[in-house]
Symmetry: C2
Subunit: 219 residues, 2 copies
Amino acid sequence: MEKEISKAVISRLPRYYRYLGELMEDGVERISSNELSQKMKVTASQIRQDLNNFGGFGQQGYGYNVKYLHTEIAKILGIDRQHNLIIIGAGNLGQALANYANFKKHGFVIKGMFDINPRLIGLVVRGVEIRGVDDLEKFIVENEVQMAALTIPKTKAPEIADRLVKAGIKAIWNFAHVDLVVPDDVVVENVHLSESLMRLSYRASSLQDQKKKEEKKKR
Amino acid sequence: MEKEISKAVISRLPRYYRYLGELMEDGVERISSNELSQKMKVTASQIRQDLNNFGGFGQQGYGYNVKYLHTEIAKILGIDRQHNLIIIGAGNLGQALANYANFKKHGFVIKGMFDINPRLIGLVVRGVEIRGVDDLEKFIVENEVQMAALTIPKTKAPEIADRLVKAGIKAIWNFAHVDLVVPDDVVVENVHLSESLMRLSYRASSLQDQKKKEEKKKR
DNA sequence: TAGATTGTTAATCGATTAACAATC
DNA sequence: TAGATTGTTAATCGATTAACAATC
């Protein structure tokens, strides 16, 4: 039985990965959980606990080898392998993703882009042609695509998601403002930008309100 | 003393808001925590606990009035007021945000866009002109801008963030892959897309690995 | 009034932090 | 060997779920 690893732990791994990458660039060879904790503003205890979910990557009295740990986290995250990706929805957001150069560095290869807008079909973005959705299923199979980014309106998303799942897609990066319903063996990662903005709004607003209250008190 | 409301609660509010909005569109007038919990796939207990952080919005024996609750959550999130926003970085992602029509509906008004690329300066996106960053501070003050979306490379982000803070910005929606350092009275909401994609990669990869193991067992 | 459902307290569960023995 | 720092167990804290009295 595999011990299930908590979502909280997983969501911290990419940040560790980023900091380790920066340390490598700075030529740092080793780091202790304590040093790293100060840089990242988390507890050293949390770092050690998190990492030990996956094995002992450090050494007593020494700390962690930056390069080694960086590689190991990449393996855990699955970014050491190639992921074939398509983007459904070639609007600004879809194109923004396509233009995001760092993808390739982490094993994500954009195999194709799709849209229903005839004005976009045929255009080429970063060497990738925008296609109509008619030959979607065929394309997925032929190009061994496992992942799809959904940057289409919420009205179209569930239907397209169904088609993706039937065609064999196993991972959906969902930017549409709906909760997709998919089988157990398909994973969905939501990026709901409007919800993110609302969280910011909440925090900004409550900060404002607090200030106003404090001003009132003074008088 | 205000009781501090947990981050977990806040991050669920926008989703409640979205579901209530959809219920309104469907003409539903009232809903019980139990019904809503089934739709949203959370526990009824959690819904009631979450809402009661902010006050009693329901009525025993009746449930919650959809429209009323929708309005109240909007107030809590601060999306009943106007937020003046600028976008720094007019690349694909910045333009995607500018084109995202629903912003206005929730009180976010895009006052301006900024870039350093001379080829973009002067262009107009959705009625908003792209400006150079020279007159950034002046623009913020004159237009009473409180929020900024940062869609620029990580190398430039900290410097611009400093300028924003000095000019009086209180909320930063950060799409750059750095952790910004800001004073206590400024809030930052991070959208690290590459980290989101890595989380998806982890889940997709561990699903794959699991399957392989099961296949091995069978043999 | 009887039935339904909230608001809220209490119980459980999980995640974070602290502590320290193991060991490089 | 002595010092440093991990890996891991135990303690604490917080968040989620369950239960039920209050009340519409």
